[in-house]
């Protein structure tokens, strides 16, 4: 595992048994896309009891976005989609986050949708917001397209279809 990934995972409280599970996911995707994975991101939020609730583990390559859904709960529910020039729509919702430096009160949610109708939702709390911002800047914005006709055609579908329901 890259040192920067270890550092990132530790910063959001993933170590011990949870880290082992991340390694299993990484091993799977390394076999499918050898040496292509550039960044990882764990979508999470703070539960009412103060524990972090981890949802999906996302991985990003130059071309693909990969998701290990509910990676701590479900066993091996993996998928992947091409991101290259595919981002038709994105939305960010954030609180107590100035988009420069996250605080303990910061929360952020990024939703994106692709031309195919596939989409994803990534959540972050506290310092993880800075990592989500980095993913947004590096993998979502460069792949956003300006295509009003297609966007209009897909507009209806965008509100009814997402990757999770396919």
């Amino acid at each position: 595992m890259k040192a920067e990934w270890s550092k990132y995972l530790k910063s959001i409280g993933i170590k011990g048994p949870f880290l082992k599970r991340v390694e299993e996911v990484l091993d799977f995707y390394q076999q499918v896309y050898p040496n292509q994975i550039q960044d990882i991101f764990v979508t999470e939020y703070l539960g009412n009891d103060g524990n972090r609730e981890y949802e999906s583990l996302w991985l990003f390559s130059e071309t693909f976005a990969m998701e290990a859904k509910q990676f701590l709960k479900e066993k091996d529910d993996y998928d992947s989609v091409s991101l290259r020039q595919q981002v038709e729509y994105w939305t960010i919702k954030k609180t107590e986050y100035d988009f420069h430096k996250a605080s303990t009160k910061s929360r952020m949610m990024l939703k994106f949708e692709l031309l195919s109708g596939v989409g994803g939702t990534l959540k972050a709390s506290q310092g993880n917001c800075d990592y989500l911002k980095a993913i947004f800047s590096k993998h979502i914005i460069p792949n956003a397209i300006e295509c009003p006709v297609t966007a209009q055609q897909n507009g209806r579908r965008r509100r009814t279809v997402n990757k999770d329901t396919l």
Partner: protein
């Protein structure tokens, strides 16, 4: 001549003095405080306790991976407490007198007197872990057993289920401790630490009823059964403990159905 059975703590103190030449004084209490404070500090510094501090998050995550729920509300080690002298003395009163079926002969395990009571009373140092769900009690007890075995400390778990509606696991771990003698020399004692494991719901009721239990335990037993005395405090509080335990069992059943685990109905 047969000694009258002490009925309260003052009579018990008199009995200790007359029959065993033990005077319970301010000095006795000071000495007790010195010994248990040393035991507290030594246990806090043990590798067992210090490792547990760093392992708590890992234990929390292991439970999550098998249940999809966290074990604790927060992964913080609970505070270690020492048993106050009055509670300690009360416990010796219970064991020497109130629960002693051999009276006026000593109980089966012998009289609890200063020469042996630090190693015989098993909760002079104690703490309590609070877990979210009922199955977390057994899970944590197993984790503590593993760690005690690794540290080569003797341990045992008692799953308490009292008629009075009290439910908790009591995990006892013993460790060697060098305690001061009254002449400032030292001697070795095997000290037992009580680690209670309870659930959030039981903890709420424990906090409410703790004082009540203490008072009740210092009274001699009566012939009237609390189960029939519906106007008594005991009737309401004891049954509340049983009801909560039942509710927690039901919560487990619902939770297991939600995550697709087998339930009692399917077995």
């Amino acid at each position: 001549m047969e000694t009258d059975k002490p009925k309260n703590i003052d009579e018990y103190k008199r009995w200790l003095k007359d029959d065993h030449h033990i005077e319970v004084s301010a000095h006795t209490q000071n000495y007790y405080d010195t010994v248990v404070s040393k035991a507290h500090n030594d246990f806090y510094a043990t590798k067992f306790w210090q490792t547990l501090k760093s392992d708590l998050k890992q234990i929390n995550q292991q439970y999550y991976l098998s249940t999809n729920y966290y074990l604790f509300v927060g992964s913080v080690l609970p505070e270690l407490h020492t048993k106050p002298f009055d509670s300690f003395l009360l416990k010796t009163f219970r064991q020497n007198i109130l629960s002693n079926n051999n009276w006026p002969k000593p109980p089966d395990s012998g009289w609890l007197l200063p020469k042996n009571w630090y190693s015989q009373i098993n909760d002079v140092v104690r703490t309590c872990f609070v877990v979210k769900y009922l199955d977390g009690v057994d899970f944590l007890a197993s984790q503590l057993t593993e760690r005690s075995n690794a540290a080569e400390y003797d341990c045992k778990v008692d799953y308490e289920a009292k008629e009075e509606g009290y439910y908790a696991a009591h995990f006892y771990v013993t460790f060697p401790c060098e305690v001061p003698r009254e002449n400032w020399d030292t001697r070795n004692e095997i000290i037992s630490v009580e680690i209670q494991i309870t659930t959030q719901l039981q903890e709420v009721i424990r906090q409410m009823l703790h004082k009540y239990y203490e008072q009740r335990r210092s009274r001699p037993t009566t012939d009237v059964k609390w189960q029939w005395d519906y106007k008594s405090d005991e009737f309401a509080t004891n049954y509340l403990g049983h009801i909560l335990h039942y509710v927690e069992g039901m919560i487990m059943d619902v939770r297991d159905k939600k995550i697709g685990k087998g339930t009692k109905d399917e077995s």
